[in-house]
Point group: C2
Chain length 120, copies 2
């Protein structure tokens, strides 16, 4: 490995049960969290666009995922006071920084998935 992860275990309680690292890791690597973030990595999307971009997500899970990521300062929500309602979602600076770190993983999965799961 180019980047050693042993440094993470060196500082005491990184990734131990109940610490902030675990919480954030669960948020950003959650089933729908990853896909919402990947969708927003290309730019701002509206609620309805997100629903279509993240194939298979329910409204409930989209709402809950967006709220979590918004609380974490990773996603920004901008509601325009018009009729009909118009709400834009985008990555914050922190979110864009996160996606730079997550991109290699996503690209690896996209490149290797077919070898790993032959028929689905």
């Amino acid at each position: 490995m180019t980047v050693s992860l042993s440094s993470l275990r060196g500082d005491g309680d990184a990734f131990t049960d109940g610490c902030p690292t675990r919480v954030v890791l669960d948020h950003v690597t959650s089933k729908w969290g990853v896909l919402v973030l990947a969708a927003l990595a290309d730019g701002t999307l509206r609620w309805s666009e997100l629903r279509r971009a993240v194939d298979g997500i329910s409204e409930k899970m989209l709402a809950s995922t967006l709220k979590t990521l918004e609380r974490d300062g990773i996603v920004e929500r901008v509601a325009h006071p018009v009729i009909p309602p118009h709400v834009d979602y985008s990555l914050t600076d922190r979110g864009r920084d996160l996606m730079e770190a997550m991109s290699p993983l996503l690209l690896w999965v996209a490149a290797n998935a077919d070898d790993i799961v032959p028929s689905g």
Copy 2:
């Protein structure tokens, strides 16, 4: 972003519901999958060492996580026929490749978690 993810959406059904990408993504970003992989990134570990390294994991989830990653060709299991039993787990070449792609994310989470979740 340095690496654009839009290329992923360009090739048709990447990350659409039910496709291999989703399956593999779920495996490697699963709650315990990430932590097991991070633990093995530093080298070979035995079952009991893994249990201690991955704080909070139950035997059931460790077994199930390892089986999934083994089926995916990411983790290798080597059982030594001795009494008492001795079983080593390590990353395969594919697994090490995966961890190179996942390291930036883990380092990002470790570096930013405390800013995101102030008090847990």
